[in-house]
Structures are given as C-alpha cells and as structure tokens.
Symmetry: D2
Subunit: 346 residues, 4 copies
C-alpha cells in the first residue's frame, strides 16, 4: 500500500504513520516529494484494510498496489482453468453454449425447448425454477417440481443442466438434480450463499452483479474458491448504465479484461446484456470474437407466452441460426464450438 500524506502534514504525523505501518507487520519506505510525502508499506497487506492508515491524521489517501484477490488471479495460476462437464468442457479451446428458457414453466414446455436447443447445437440446458422477480406479484418459478423436469430433460437430451440457486436452503435439493449451480446478478454479493457454494461439489456459474466492477466479480469468485470449490465460471451479463435503448449495457471490455486477470472461464449472456432478441445474435458473435469461452442464451418456443423475459428470448430457429454464425466467428478467432455428442435417446 502507498500512503499519501496531505501537503501540510507534519513530521509527527508522518512518524505516526510509520509506527502504524510497523504495527501491521509491514515495512515503511518514505519518499519525500516536492509537495507531499508518500510512504510505501511493504509486505503482504491482503488482510489489512486501507482504513487503518486512511483515518490517521495527516493522511490524504491510501492506494492499494496488489489485487485484493489471490486464488482467482493469473498470478496464482497462469494457465486457463478447464472444467470438464458431461460431454464437453468449458474454459479450453472449445466454446460451449448453454441455452434454454428463462423459467421452467411446464414439463412440455421444457422438454420441447430442450430438444430444440440440443438439435440446434447447445451443449447444456438452462432453466430457472426459483426465479428472482422484481415484483412479488410475478411468477416466481415452479420450485422443486421444475427441478424434476430439468432432470428429465437431461436424461432425454444428454445435456447437463444449469439452474439458479437463490438461497443456501435451496442448495441441498438442487445438487440432486442439476449439474451447474448458477448465482444470479442480484446475488453476486450474497456472501452466505457464496460461502455455502464454496463447499458444494458442483461447478458454479457466477453472474456479474449489475453494478459490480470486474474486481468485485473476482472477489465474489474468491469467496467460492477460498471455500474449497475451484470450479467457478464467470459470466458477463450486462451492467447498468444511463443508456435505456437496451435493458443493460454489455460490457464487452470485461471479456478480455477478465481473461487477462484470471484463469477462470468467462462466458457471456447476450439475452440479459441486451434485453431484446433482435440484438442477441450480434452480441453473441461479438462475445466470441472478444474471446469469451461460452454463451448462455435464453430460448423459448413461444416467447409471446413466456412467463418471464419473453422479449429477450430467441425462438429455436433463430437460436439455430445464432449457433451457425457463432461457429463461423469461433473459427475466425482460432477456436471451435464444443462437439455435441449423441444424446442418451437423441
């Protein structure tokens, strides 16, 4: 950490900072500048709050030098993490596509969509059964009934299944049915949940909060990693900005930024990051061109009657065309789509 003193800080105030640095087990290095003094605090400061110094008299500000995360960093692990799943892997050269309805609405709806996305080239199936809805009066998901349909869809299509977990209490039931536990944007900083997922045996798909920085996303991943679960997949799903032409603003920069900072796989959700089906395919192409390791896309066979997020769902035939276009872009950047192995019954 670098402690920057006020221009008018006294010699005694500088001395007090030096004492405080030593108290924390760090070594002080004083640089006397023209206008102000800067004091470097050398040592492992990951567990030390900048407030320890910033609240001392005469201190103007404190600048962190190191990243606050460790296990998630490229410095900790230089090579890309690759997580094998049922029939494909994520994080390697191959690009994975997760698709399915926003909400599981009925057995028929799910099985129909699952088969359609499988045929179109999806590698895993998404479908929400516990739904975080802004309104208490909106459809809140089928709950455990929906989990059974997901399991049936998995058996039918051979695709692993992703579903969102909203609370610690839901984990136990979910691990029996699903293959990847998704943490939604609204729960990215739900620390009891992250901590519990650190002990789960399943990979976690961690979505970026809608106003979370890239660093905060990595800190949330760090919670899961520090708990002992090293299979975290990061997901950019759009951030909240002043722009109202789209539901969110896809932070495409986050893809190469994350790939440079972390070894974890990075995927993108163009359905939420745009909010309009018209723009999903263009942004899906952009994600892969920017270096994303995968996509998670909402597909619905009857968007007009979807119980949630209909407006951002692709119909199966549009999804099929999206896969084709994404495949071409993947090849252009030296990658390829993961192969689709034969389904159990497919």
């Amino acid at each position: 950490m670098m402690i920057i003193m006020h221009p008018g800080a006294s010699r005694q105030q500088v001395k007090d900072v030096v004492v405080c640095i030593k108290d924390q087990g760090l070594s002080p290095h004083i640089i006397e500048g023209v206008e102000r003094t800067v004091i470097g605090a050398v040592g492992d400061s990951r567990g030390i709050s900048p407030d320890v110094f910033s609240t001392l008299p005469g201190v103007e500000s404190v600048v962190r030098i190191s990243h606050p995360y460790k296990l998630a960093s490229r410095e900790f692990k230089a090579e890309d993490s690759v997580f094998p799943l049922d029939g494909f892997s994520i994080g390697g050269k191959e690009i994975a596509i997760i698709a399915g309805p926003c909400s599981v609405e009925s057995r028929d709806q799910l099985l129909e969509i699952a088969q359609a996305v499988r045929q179109a080239g999806a590698h895993a199936l998404r479908g929400g059964v516990f739904k975080p809805r802004t309104s208490p009066y909106a459809f809140q998901g089928l709950g455990e009934e929906g989990l059974e349909y997901l399991a049936e869809a998995r058996q039918l299509t051979g695709m692993p299944v992703v579903a969102e977990v909203m609370s610690v209490a839901q984990i136990e039931a979910m691990v029996k049915y699903v293959d990847i536990l998704q943490v939604g944007a609204r729960n990215m900083q739900n620390y009891p949940l992250l901590r519990a997922l650190g002990e789960a045996r399943l990979p976690v798909l961690l979505k970026r909060g809608m106003s979370a920085t890239v660093e905060e996303l990595l800190m949330s991943a760090e919670y899961i990693l520090a708990g002992g679960n090293d299979r975290v997949i990061l997901c950019e799903r759009g951030i909240r900005t002043f722009e109202t032409a789209t539901r969110n603003t896809t932070d495409i920069n986050a893809v190469p930024v994350l790939k440079s900072l972390t070894h974890l796989p990075v995927i993108l959700d163009p359905s939420h990051s745009t909010g309009y089906f018209e723009f999903v395919t263009a942004v899906a192409r952009a994600a892969v061109a920017a270096g994303a390791d995968g996509l998670i896309v909402e597909v619905h066979s009857d968007p007009a009657h979807a119980l949630s997020d209909g407006h951002q769902s692709l119909k199966p035939e549009m999804f099929s065309e999206m896969v084709r276009q994404v495949e071409a872009v993947a090849a252009a950047v030296g990658r390829c789509l993961a192969p689709v192995r034969n389904a159990a019954q497919g």
Copy 2:
C-alpha cells in the same frame, strides 16, 4: 398498458394484438396515429408482463401506465406511516437518528460507543454482527456473540437496536436480540430474505441497492409489505455512479421523490453515501433539509482501528456536533429531533 405498433405494422398484426389484450382480460382501445397505431389495454394489468405484448409481431414497444407497486404507494395510503419504537417514533414530524459502529468489534467497544452516541442525542443504536464484506479475508463480524453485546447496550442505554440480517437463517436468532432488522444494499433484491421478513414481527430498515432505481426499492418494500409486515423504513445510502471523489453518490433527489410516491418513512445514511467522514455532517444536514425522516450514521471512538469502514466513521465529538447542526436544520424546515428519553440506567 399502451402497446405501440411499428410504423409498418399490418392490419392483421393490430388485430392480433387486440385479441391478445382481450385474452388477458383487458379492454383494447385503438388510436390510429399519423405514423403508427397505439393500442391502450385498459384494466388491472399489475400481474401481466409487458412481454405478453412486446413479443407479438408488429409491436415496437410497450409502455406501462401504472406503478408496479401497490401497498407501498401513496395512492394506497395517502397519509405518512408512523412507526412507534421504544421511546420515539419514525415517520412523523420528529426526526430520528440511528448511530453506532459499522461492526460490533468487542463488548467494550460497543458499550463505549453506545453510551457516547446516546449522550450526543442518538435515538437508536446500530451495529453489524454479520458483515457483508467484499473480501473473504476481511473481518466478517462477531455473529451471535455480537448480538448479546447489542442487547446489553440496549439495556444500558435504553436505545432500540438495529442490526443487519444477511440470510433467512439468521432471522430467528436476531429477533431475540434486536428491534429493527436491516437489509443491506447488497441484499435489497434477495427475495427469499425479503419474503421471510414479510413474516417477521419487527420493523425492517430496507437499504437501497447501489444500482437500484427508486422504483425497484419500492418493489422490494412491496415484497415485505405483501408478506404482511407493514413496517418498512426506506434508506437512501448512495448509488454507484462514475464519480470517484466519494465512495457513492448521495441521491438527494430520492428523498423528495420517495416522499411523494410512498407513505413509508425515508431515512438517509450519509456515512455510506459519501464514504468520508469529512463530508458526513454536510450531507446529514442536506438530508434533513430535503425532507428525510431520519439518519443512520456510523460512529467509532477509534476510527483508525475500526475493523471496517473506519474512514467514514465520525468520532463521538464530531457526531455530537452533527446532531446539533442537524437539529438547527430540522427546526428550519418545521421539524424537530425526537426527544431522547432517559435511559434505563442512564
């Protein structure tokens, strides 16, 4: 809802929208404009998603006319909600001040600060025992041990106690010790938690999420109200913007906006909304001038050694001066601070 058709929408597409409106139990009203057709859908559309219409062919966009919340609205209840607490009430003419440390760190620390803030004029005591920390390596709170200290501080000072609840599982223990359950910014859209608090017997202090709109804050309040708990106190605590000179941006507009939209009490947290103790007093004055019903402020007797948020904590003497200044502003806007009754042992 108003359904706005594309300029090139066909007659058949308009007809299909009309059918869909009727299917939803609403009445269609067609307005043929110069460029495009607009169709009003009249009736109670609170439970109907705009997607039902926005995904139909030929539809350009759908505009909601009514607010999506009901119980929280002024239209539902015109007069201000006033919640009596132990020794004062919140939401009426009197302004309430909640103060205390960010985290409960030890028995001595808490009791010292509790007595200091009481003496300075605080009406309730805050103190976190389950702490939502960005880093898994930072101090996470004393947990249940801290709750006991809070109860002791209440007995000592006579002040009701506010503490943050982070998960459904914590509620049971907390209701035994605290008087107001706080939902932090990161959990404003933790719906299982909100739902559980709808069944709690205690008032809930609901903090605005750092990128939540005023409407979303009201929707989260609606979850609690719809669950049967009508005592929700709203708290503006700063939003996330591009400005880095302060930790957050105090959305002072939100105070009069909320007061116009809802009957619920509105308080402001100038500690988090600025992030620097130097600016807390000025923003506390502004909050009361803008019409806030109360303040929640971080106070620490030794900010340099606080285990969290030291940089935004006032020392007791600064807090005391803040109370004095806020009192003067309250009088200027025709209000007053709630009286401080004698403590049990005070």
Copy 3:
C-alpha cells in the same frame, strides 16, 4: 404523444388537456382506464415539447411515441447509406479501417506512422492537430502546421485524412487539408459546430459523447443532416460508467441498435473505448462481429513517447496483426475489408 393523467385528476383537468391538444393542432383520443385516464394526441408532434402537456394540472407524465429524429431514421431511408471516399467506401459491405496517431507530433512521426498503417492495411489516416485536452498544461496539438503534415501524408500514401475539428473557426482551414471532419465526444452537443458542419462539403465522423444515449447521438446527427450535409458517420467510442478497469465501457450493444435505427454507417473506436492497447484487438474483432462498418484505431510507432494517449496506442506490428484478425472475423460475418488501392507514390 400519450398524456397520462394522475389517478385523482378531475374531469375538468382532462377537458383542459383536450383543449390544449387541439390548440397544438393535434387530435385527442381519450382512454378511460381503471385507475387513470390516458389521452392520445395524434398528429405530427415532432416540433412540440412534451412540456406543453406535462405542466398542465392533473397530468402525471407524457410519453413520446415517435422518435424525435427524422432524417437519420431507417423510416426515412430504409437502405444503408454508403459514402464513397478516396479509394474505398464506408457503409456498404466492405469494412474500412482508419488508423494513425492520436496527435500529429511532427512531420517525421506522422509520415512514418502513415506509411506503416498503410502497409498494414489501413484505408484512411487519422491524426489530431487541435487536441481537446483535459489539462490546460498538456500538449494542445500542432494546429495548422499539423494540417500540412497530414496533407503531405495523404499525398505520400494515397489515404484520405481524418482530423478533429473543435470549433467553427477551424473549419475553414481544415477543409483545405482534410477529407473527413471528426467531431469529438466532448463536442457531440456543440450545436453551433454541428450547425456549421451541416453546411460543410465534407463527410463528418461524429463521435458519441461519453454520456450520450444512442438517441442523443442520432439527434446530433440530425443537426448535421438537417443542415444539408447527408454524409454523417457515427462512431461508438465507449461510454462512461462506474467500471474503472478500462478507460471507458465499449457499448457493443450500440452497434446493432444503431444499425436497426439508422441508415448511417456505424464505426467503433476500440482505442478510446478500452483505453489500453492490450484490449484493443479483442474489441476491434468484437465490433466487426457485432456489425460495425469500420474501425478507427490509434497507432503510434513509439507509444512511450507519444504526447497523448500513448497507453491506448497500438504499435504498427500489433496493428498489422489486428487487421489480419479483423479480416478473418469480417469474412466470418459475410463481409470483407475494403481493398487497399495503390498509393499515389506507394
């Protein structure tokens, strides 16, 4: 426009709105809803401010139905606008790459970079001579001397030249030397400048302001179009958000959104939209994958000694590699780079 009345609005207030609508030459259509009345105002309302209605007693809000721009819209002109330039065109199937230094610093610097980017496949040369710098103490550009170097570089390489214009007074000198006039992000709403450019004979490259919405960008284009200059090229260059990992946030959504709303060509500036040379190539690929018609990229042969924006400049060899990669992505989305014709002397 739709005028939405307060739930408690009186009959007389509705009548007054109806009179006001007629006064504006529009036709009123009343829809009586369950909670409130909505009044449609039918007719060409482009020149009418919503305030005319929103300030009337009993009115809650006013919703615009039509876009406020006309000449820039797809509805005005359905097919893509294609602007031929010297040796290539922009807005058609071919993708154009504009490259060069942030600032023209010297004759040698410019000529060296110009030749390097030409060899690497650039179609046009960029270079600032009037520089908008945040600090009055920073290098402000070479001014007219720089224009002469640009003209020389054009002659040497055969590339048309793009330079930023900061004020009406500079236009006269610039049109003698440059081929495209660039409006920087800070001047996107400099209306006297836009108006003057409406009368210029050169194409205008209009950069999006750092907190401008897509609609505001189109309104600024409308100023130029309405002035009689129909050659406007839109440029996404990143918007300002809370994220600090990059200089700006590339709004990749804006590419397909703009392509759907307007017939004007849309290009992207990955240098400013990321701020770090490490991320420029990834975002350049993404832009083309998303449907951009071109790129504008900062290149410097000695970024460490650049007088501005060194950190986001590619070295010529990195730029060359970027062109190669962008070319592959262009092919994947059914497009190609514009051919590079032989330079005058090249």
Copy 4:
C-alpha cells in the same frame, strides 16, 4: 507519480523506468515490495503524462499523487474567493440566488418574470438567448434580440444578468449586455470556448458536465483561470446516472467535496438537477444545508407555455416560497441570504 511494476518485471525493466524518470527531470525512489516493485517519481509532474511511464515494458500502472489542477486548488489559495457583483457578492457568507426563465421568449415574458423574481428575493436574473437544444427542430433562442431584453430587465430591476454563451463568436456581443457568462453542461469541455473566456473581463458561471467528475470540472475551471480570468463560479447541475425518476441525479456530495478542494464559489441548480418543479424546493434547501454559496433556479410565470424546460420551472409564487424556506435553512447553517438592494426603478 508512483510507477507500479508488474510482478514479473525484470531488473532491466525497472532500470529503464528509472532512466525514463530521470529523463523527465524527476527523481526516482525504488521500493521493492514482496510481490512487485514500486517506483516513486519525485518532482513537479503536472506537465508530464502518466503515459510516458505506463507504456514502458514491465509497467502495470501509474498512480498520480498530486491534483492535476493548481490555480483552482485550496493549496494555491486557502481562503474562499469572493466575487463582488452589482449589489451583492458571491462566495462569502451570504447566499446568492439567481433566477429567471430557461429561455428569453419575449420582452413581456422576460420583464414580467424579472420583476417577479426580484420581488421574491432574487439577486440576479438568468435567461437563455442562445439555447443548446437536443433537437434541431426545437426553439433555439432569440439570439441578440434576447440580449437587449436582458439589458432592459437589468435596468428595470437592478439585477445583474446571467446568460449562456455557446461559442467563441458569441462572446463579443454578450459582454456588452450581460454581467456573468454561463458555460452550459454540454460545453464544459469546449476548450476553445474556455480559453476565450480566460481572456474575458466577466465572471464565468461554469456548469458541471453531465458526466464530468469533480476533478474534470476543476480542470475546466483551471483553463479559465490559467487564461487570466480568476472569477469562476462552479455549478453542480446534476449528473447522469441510471436513475430515471428524475432528469438528472443531484450530486449533493459534490458541494462539500468542491468546497474542500477549491476556493472558488460553488452554487447548485436544482431545476436541472431534478427536472421536476415538485422537487426543486426540497433540493434547493438541501444545497444550502450542504454548504452551497448560491442557487440558480428556473422560474416561469406560465410554465405550460414555456418554450423550453417548462416542467422544471417554478411559478413565481412557488419561487417566493422557496426563497423563504432557503432563508430559514441558511440561518440554520450560520449564513444568510444576500440583501436585496433597491432596484433602479424598484
């Protein structure tokens, strides 16, 4: 400046940075940390771009220590700047209120409003004659004709006059008629304009850009100060955020932040910062409570027929009430409204 090296930077790379620091006339101070090396560059670095260092191999990032502005800083001038105007002064203990219509629409309209705001307690008159409008089809202001009305209103009421200048070319005409030149939010970084105002003889009211940081606002002030004009009044007018309940988000934090960083007067514009007349008075009170030196408020006697910004304009009687309330808050914070001297004919 502090140059932070990559964890894997080589000894040679550190040496190269040291050489570069010396080349810039600064002194290097090396701190070898556990993970990485940090090098302090001591000396006056105001004119040196961080890019000089950030682009060197092995450098991770560069942190500025000093503020980039000088003349605007409290370090340059500790005591508040107070600018005497005709009949009152701004920046001292007294609070000044500037009021008037958004646009000068006619002689009658202006004179009526001017007299009304004077009677209600305003100290200066605002009124736009060159209007920056988002739409080229909207009313653009009366131009020089409006200036004459402003001069007449000044003579009639004795109030100094504030009007917005949009380009260098307008300055010459305006200085003949107005007392304070206003730079609007959209022109805060119009550097040719700022430079020209540095040579003007009139005080400049500089509005913060809608996505400008506090530091950028001060850098724009620095342009004017560096040009020789030391009378700059800063104005917070709301920033652009994700919140749509109000037109902008009043950054009330900016008031105490600016007062701590600069000696220049700071005023607030609650009309633009909220966008709705209902919220103007509450935010005006908040501004003065937070320490603002003045207010600039839109007043219109017939807001429904205003040619611009009607929805955020107070009627004269509401303005009068606002002045009364602001006066009470001013007293509560130890200040007072500037006295209103008798008008020429008043």
